[in-house]
Symmetry: C2
């Protein structure tokens, strides 16, 4: 028996509601009509008085309305995302009113192919109309209307649930304050369609399929099991499978020399196939995978950029590094399209070996991102005050590496701040925990965005309510339109880039002004060291040995002047700095400046 | 009709031979006995008088003995590797006597589960004993004995064919001069076993399977088609599929809203499934995939290193970058184990988006590797003379990038050569086209090996008959035992490494002496430029601007001295060099040397 502790929503019951009556059928995307439609759903927590704390969870292929809690005191199987939803959890039911419904076409209480077709009084089977992600979302909207929800604080979902999240934000822009698409995509690629198609083939080709009019006691179980097995291979990563199963044999240490399942991974798949058959309907599997295959925002809207042109939600997209079903690149396509539209979007690619399943398993990391983002959206002021205190106490929740530490203490954030006009847009490259952006937002009312490579500082930025994208800037900024930002900041980073020319050119393309700061390699101490000692310089600004330095290019003010000239870049300001703050070096700056800040444009 | 041109082996016929008579059954690995055994095979070209030109090709899952040529003048389907085998092709039938046989358990003429079981006078079906890769190879050896082949010049095969290659080299070390395992592995990982298992499940669960005693006109066609579809997804890469099919619809530009195949990738898989059913036997599919699942050299020999301890062949292992079924890492495991045993092994990971199928499609690149390796093995002297002329004429067949060019012209190969004792073992890191190694081999009779990152120079080395491994040295050299080499050479490379300390330490672990050369950053011209001009130095030895230099670390003789001291490394020789060759700088070397060669040890 699962202990129903204080962090469980406790005993819950799935409710059913009729949303579409026989006399007013729903128009589906495929052109057919469907009625009646009943929907199974659960809710946890309470809708507050202002009605601004509702969170909708959209489930994935094999999920249902039962997200959290248990159905009875001795129920051994809590809801499918119980680890994430409950008092004090990632989606905190003490703060939020959480809703989840079984989607249209499902087999867990909502109308689907196993429901009774009123015109035949038999289950629909293949007479059920093809449904789409759009149809599913339309029904969810009807449910929320019935429940009196006027606006969603957030809509969250992984995998096929994430597709619904995207559809929600596009279809009902004024209804959704925040959208959290997790491990999802705007369209399936050929490989994913192929896997789905083979699974459907296995079901359709099963001798017991009976054109979809099978009896529940004699269904296309083998076909459905095959489909689920294929699915499970795609939900795990190669690495994850290798670590979990390897070539382990079920029992013996020698081969059985027959065709029984003997490798542990075979037994695992057998079990997954069998248990799925016991709880899922084969026709629903066909309809849901088809809905996923059909989902294609590019096709629907012409381009992804057009698809997201009118959304008003804040976005947090999350992918998982080892997910090869809906890949990090597919999440990045969402992020790029949103950023190209100037939308408030954050993105994190969580390190994990769990593959696609990570959205159900990496609960601690994912939970901290979700809770931070929800909180920053729900109570922006409260959180940022808290964060400010934290930041001043240096109580950052992540460890800054030696280099980061050295870099940050060197950066003269206050001076850079003084260069920025109020009410502008600012992109900070390698923004760390977002201190500069947070200060600029408060002091100068800028609209700020950050790019950062490391996961922990990205989380810190999310917690501050900043727009932050996890990305290596060396890959380029194709997500930003030309001159779409007033300022781009590249602080103490140019000397660490593999390709400074490419990056600098890209920054000048997207920013009206680019602020660059770097340590001066021609400071007299460096010169003296090389000249008199004949060694690679090690100074306070360049504190590393030749062999372990993260600085892989060395440049002086003069080098950068020539570089700008070569690239046709205008140097608007050049502020050589000595150790003391706010004291530009006026005499022989290339000799006496320890670092320098450039304001450039092109 | 395929035109039978001069580069086809022409019209060929598959022959059948009885190799095991009823009265002397073959002992199989599973413990059972099998007789009689007939084998289908083809041969092309002629065995020469010295009998040293026989090449055995081992086929993969769905292949057969019919490798090349056509069966009749109007045969539209040439053999499965016709692009690779024929006069003047990668495996040149003008030079080599080529043999291929259908493997044991197959369904194309060799005894398998569809053969008649003498004890029942019906097809074996599931009464056929489980066979292994080892059993297949044993039968191939019997065939070669019958054909009068005393020794193989080479055994070549891709995928499951590659497993047979490995088995050949291990089982018959004196019989195989060269082994070319392509896109293969020493064991399947959990993910590959999983895919095989689901495929077998689809066959075993097909209502028409009839416990394996199906009639040929009513077999488990749907199950076999499903298995083949799954297989095909794993043979292509995600990128390859995306480029080939994308989300293209078969005919229309709008969805059909039903469950017919409408995406191009679905139609492709349907076709692959259907055409496979027409030419392949479901029981054979079960037995062959099981043989692949069971193949596990680590299990058989304890470790991979022990498995290869007694091989005598030269090896060329080839993988393909996008192959996710039998991955480049799995080929590298073979290479590492061979190198750890001090065997003559070369390795190339060919850039390709074709996935596992690349071994059938990247025929030009693969063909040049195979032909070069075969030629260098068959006529080592002839080729190396040719190569020497080429090298002197600078007629290298690949383009050297600017940096490579600059690096190579700077390197004083002759001076490094003078530092190396005759009859030693030498590993050259970043060996390029192998000029230094080739010279050392000829002049000092060393046993040389190279490591190189780029594909083209790797091919040049293969053509020279050198032992060459394509690898990024920054990943480490775990494949080499401690102090297993007399010399390791790191010429003009240390300043380009991300982690010079890690690499240098690793070289000192595997080499008794490590020879390092690099440009001197403290040469007076560099010092003067930084000191007087205040710019990052650009000299003949350091010819790049600060922003586009492949040199990411800068060091002087003094820096390297201190580095060696810090690491406890003994500097045995230090040869500071000026522009003129062979003239060590005796006065103030850290000021006047443009480059330097160190001989170090630890």
């Amino acid at each position: 028996m699962v202990e129903i502790g204080k962090n469980s929503v406790g005993i819950v019951k799935t409710k059913t509601i009729r949303l579409v009556e026989a006399e007013h059928p729903l128009e589906l995307e495929c052109g057919k009509r469907l009625a009646p439609i009943e929907v199974a759903y659960e809710t946890y927590g309470e809708l507050n008085e202002t009605g601004d704390n509702a969170v909708l969870i959209c489930h994935a292929l094999s999920g249902n309305a039962h997200v959290a809690g248990v159905n009875s005191p001795d129920d051994k199987n809590p809801g499918w995302w119980d680890v994430m939803v409950g008092p004090g959890k990632g989606i905190d039911t003490n703060k939020y009113f959480v809703i989840c419904s079984n989607f249209l076409g499902g087999c867990s209480g909502t109308t689907g192919p196993s429901s009774i077709n009123p015109s035949t009084q038999k289950p629909y089977g293949l007479d059920f109309p093809i449904i789409t992600i759009g149809d599913m979302v339309k029904i969810q909207k009807l449910l929320l209307d019935k429940l009196g929800v006027k606006k969603l604080l957030a809509v969250i979902g992984g995998s096929i649930g994430g597709m619904q999240v995207l559809q929600w934000a596009i279809e009902y822009p004024d209804f959704v304050k925040a959208a959290l698409p997790v491990a999802t995509t705007t369209h399936l690629g050929a490989q994913s369609i192929a896997f789905d198609a083979v699974g459907r083939n296995a079901i359709l080709g099963d001798a017991n399929f009976a054109s979809g009019q099978y009896k529940s006691e004699q269904g296309p179980d083998r076909g459905l099991a095959i489909a689920r097995m294929i699915g499970h291979i795609t939900y795990l990563s190669e690495q994850g499978m290798r670590e979990k199963f390897g070539r382990q044999l079920r029992g013996a240490d020698r081969y059985s020399y027959d065709f029984n399942s003997e490798f542990a991974v075979e037994t695992y798949l057998d079990h997954q196939g069998q248990s799925f058959v016991e709880r899922f309907d084969a026709n629903s599997y066909l309809y849901i995978t088809k809905a996923a295959d059909y989902f294609d925002l590019e096709k629907d809207y012409g381009t992804l950029s057009k698809a997201f042109a009118n959304v008003k939600s804040r976005f947090l997209a999350v992918s998982f590094a080892s997910d090869w079903l809906y890949t990090p690149a597919q999440s990045e396509a969402i992020v790029n399209a949103l950023a190209a539209n100037g939308k408030d979007v954050s993105f994190c690619n969580i390190a994990s070996s769990y593959g696609h399943d990570a959205f159900l398993l990496e609960t601690e990391t994912l939970g901290s991102f979700i809770s931070g983002f929800l909180e920053a959206t729900h109570r922006p002021g409260v959180r940022s005050e808290k964060e400010k205190v934290k930041s001043k106490n240096q109580d950052t929740r992540y460890k800054i590496g030696d280099f980061e530490q050295a870099r940050r203490t060197r950066v003269d954030y206050e001076l850079i701040e003084s260069l920025i006009e109020p009410n502008t847009t600012v992109l900070d490259i390698g923004c760390g925990d977002g201190e500069l952006l947070a200060n600029l937002t408060e002091d100068k009312n800028i609209k700020g965005e950050g790019i950062e490579l490391q996961q922990d500082p990205v989380l810190a930025c999310v917690n501050r309510g900043l727009s932050i994208i996890q990305r290596d800037v060396e890959r380029g900024l194709e997500n930003y339109a030309d001159k779409s930002l007033d300022y781009v900041i590249l602080s103490q980073t140019v000397q660490t880039l593999k390709n400074p020319e490419k990056v600098f050119t890209e920054l000048l393309r997207v920013g009206k002004k680019v602020i660059v700061s770097f340590p001066n390699f021609a400071h007299w101490r460096c010169r003296a060291q090389l000249f008199f000692s004949g060694t690679a310089p090690v100074t306070k600004q360049l504190p590393f040995g030749w062999h372990n330095s993260p600085n892989i290019h060395f440049l002086s003010l003069k080098d950068f002047d020539e570089f700008c000239k070569k690239l046709g870049v205008k140097v608007e300001k050049k502020i050589p700095l000595a150790k003391t703050r706010f004291s530009p070096v006026r005499f022989a700056p290339n000799l006496f400046a320890e670092q320098v800040i450039y304001v450039t444009s092109k």
